[in-house]
């Protein structure tokens, strides 16, 4: 993979970031309601003060100038002040972000660990009993909305069996090994909900990717050389079949973030997803904008990583 390819990919991400910022700003600018709406109706504030305030914050500037101001502020990390949490938005988000990334990372890992073996085995014997069962389970898996799976797991494992706690505590009192045990116990359900949902849709991707590769001539060649079926599958088929799957995992990221918001909300995991919901419910606009912007930036980052990985795994792409 040449440095030029890396550079080109990074440069290509900039217009996307720009585009997303335009979309976000447009939504914000089109929204009804005026940040100074309360001032306008307050008889104690003279009109001249109102006009001066509006001028100071640039509310009467043309849209594109407001956009540039807004973008500059966002890029400088000046994301505003949360009136509910009494702190700067960027600090608040940075506090919550690691939890979200940990939950998403762990659940993606779980999804991949489930989906690859099942998808490959299903594709190795298409329309066999195993394949049909796996396919049906996959359908059930991604038809079960994450919010319902979450509630079901709570009902079974927290209420009926009393095995797992259903409220995530960020300030566990235990220390040492016990801390790890508690942390894992309370993370099992959020990660399982998100991971199995992702895994279910990934199984079908893996299966069709393997089916695409398994009929290629080089696989037949490998078989005719007398290499065992297992070895052909693992060494020759899976390696190539997983290349498009890498991209698909990254392209699924927007969906994963959606799932993470719901999961965090159900299990009260203190990540940016539950922060988004609570800010919406308490009308904390700067936080809502900030979190949405972070989600958008993360999506672009993962797309970029996928592109780079793709070029690394498949050199034919990089030199085109």
């Amino acid at each position: 993979m040449s440095p030029a390819y890396v550079l080109r990919r990074i440069l290509l991400a900039i217009p996307s970031l720009f585009g997303i910022s335009v979309v976000l700003f447009t939504v914000l600018a089109l929204a009804p309601g005026d940040p100074f709406g309360e001032l306008m109706t307050n008889p104690n504030v003279p009109a001249s003060v109102q006009l001066a305030l509006r001028a100071k914050f640039g509310l009467d500037d043309p849209v594109y100038i407001r956009y540039v101001h807004w973008l500059m502020a966002m890029l400088h990390g000046d994301w505003g002040f949360s009136f509910v949490s009494r702190m700067n938005v960027d600090i608040l988000i940075m506090q919550r972000l690691p939890v979200t990334l940990a939950v998403i990372g762990a659940s993606q890992l779980l999804a991949v660990l489930v989906a690859i073996p099942v998808g490959v085995l299903g594709a190795a014997r298409p329309y066999s009993l195993f394949d049909q069962i796996a396919n049906t389970l996959a359908f059930i898996g991604f038809s079960l909305p994450t919010f319902f799976t979450g509630l079901l797991l709570i009902m079974v494992f927290s209420i009926r069996l009393e095995w797992l706690p259903f409220v995530f505590q960020s300030d566990l009192s235990s220390t040492g090994w016990q801390w790890w045990v508690d942390e894992i116990r309370q993370s099992i359900m959020p990660i399982a909900v998100l991971g199995l949902f992702q895994g279910a849709s990934l199984v079908r991707f893996v299966r069709s990717a393997v089916l695409d590769v398994i009929r290629l001539d080089y696989v037949t060649t490998a078989r005719s050389k007398g290499i065992g079926e297992r070895r052909v599958l693992v060494r020759h088929v899976v390696r190539n079949a997983l290349i498009p799957v890498v991209t698909l995992v990254a392209l699924q990221m927007p969906v994963v973030f959606g799932g993470a918001i719901i999961t965090e909300q159900i299990f009260r995991v203190p990540g940016i997803g539950s922060l988004l919901i609570s800010s919406i419910l308490s009308n904390d606009t700067p936080v809502v904008m900030g979190v949405t912007f972070v989600f958008a930036g993360l999506v672009i980052l993962f797309n970029l990583i996928a592109d780079l990985l793709y070029g690394f795994l498949d050199p034919r792409i990089a030199f085109r």
Binding site: P15, S16, G19, I20, V23, L24, V27, L28, A31, P32, G33, P126, T136, F139, I140, F142, S143, L144, P145, F147, F148, L151, L152, I154, M155, I159, L211, R215, L251, P254, V255, F257, G258, I261, I262, Q265, I266, L276, I277, I280, L281, V288, M289, V291, T292, F295, A296, L298, V299, I300, N303
Partner: protein, 314 residues
Amino acid sequence: MVSSTPASLSADGKPPAALAAAPPLSPSREAWRRFRKHKLAVASLVVLTLIVFCVAFGTLFWPLAINDIDFSSMLQGPSMAHPFGTDDLGQDILARMIYGGRISLAVGLAAMFVAVVVGVTIGAISGMASGRVDAALMWVTDLFLSLPQLPLLLLVIYLFREGLKSALGPEGGVFVLIVVVIGGLRWMPVARLVRAQFLSLREKEFVEAARALGASRMRLVVRHILPNALGPVIVAGTIEVANAIIAESTLSFLGLGFPPDIPTWGRVLFDAKDQLDTAPHWALFPGGAIFLAVLTINFIGDGLRDALDPRRVL
């Protein structure tokens, strides 16, 4: 790859005449024949028809009011008087679900319609106009694909809800907003699909023939290319209904969809989630309904793919 057509017509010993003697099926009959082979899809069609029937005509057979508060019978499990039990205000859950199901399914259908119309329009323009227009439209499509959907959905609802509520009333305003936003964030797969179909179809001989006969560009698209590109669009549209139902339920579940007096399935689940220990039935029935509706629609989509999408014949 196992080819579906035999290497030679007489490969299985039958003379070609026997093949020619079988009456040709019309395309729709042929599609129905392929659809029927998908057992789960047929079963799903039956179940979904049942659900739609119950939701559409349920009030005729179950005329209880959805907001009949009765504190003497709150949080009761399923019984003869209340087959799905009651909620914390003693309201009948079955009646609420029949009413809410209409909204849930209507949102799914309407949002699918928005997504398909936008997607087909953009895809068709992009597929017919090559060059700069195509590149720009595809850039926009990719951009929308990389938007974080749920956060954006929440943001838009958060910013616009009050305005539309006062303009169109609480029910209509939220309905229009949710349908437009869900549809407006889900047209991209359809657009890409239609564009890909157009790119290959517009070079086909029958389009060439129509063009040679003097058909206008509009007529080419509407009469010749679009009907042939419709199969995959129908499949994608079916899946889109399921996605839209999930999206609406998600919003309602987060407490940001319909107001409490409109008990969509997601909303009932939202109200139920704090009583999981005392009244699990309250959450199980609406959750099960969402699951069943989405699962059957997904299976029907899979069956339609077998029936209508010739690329997937394996």
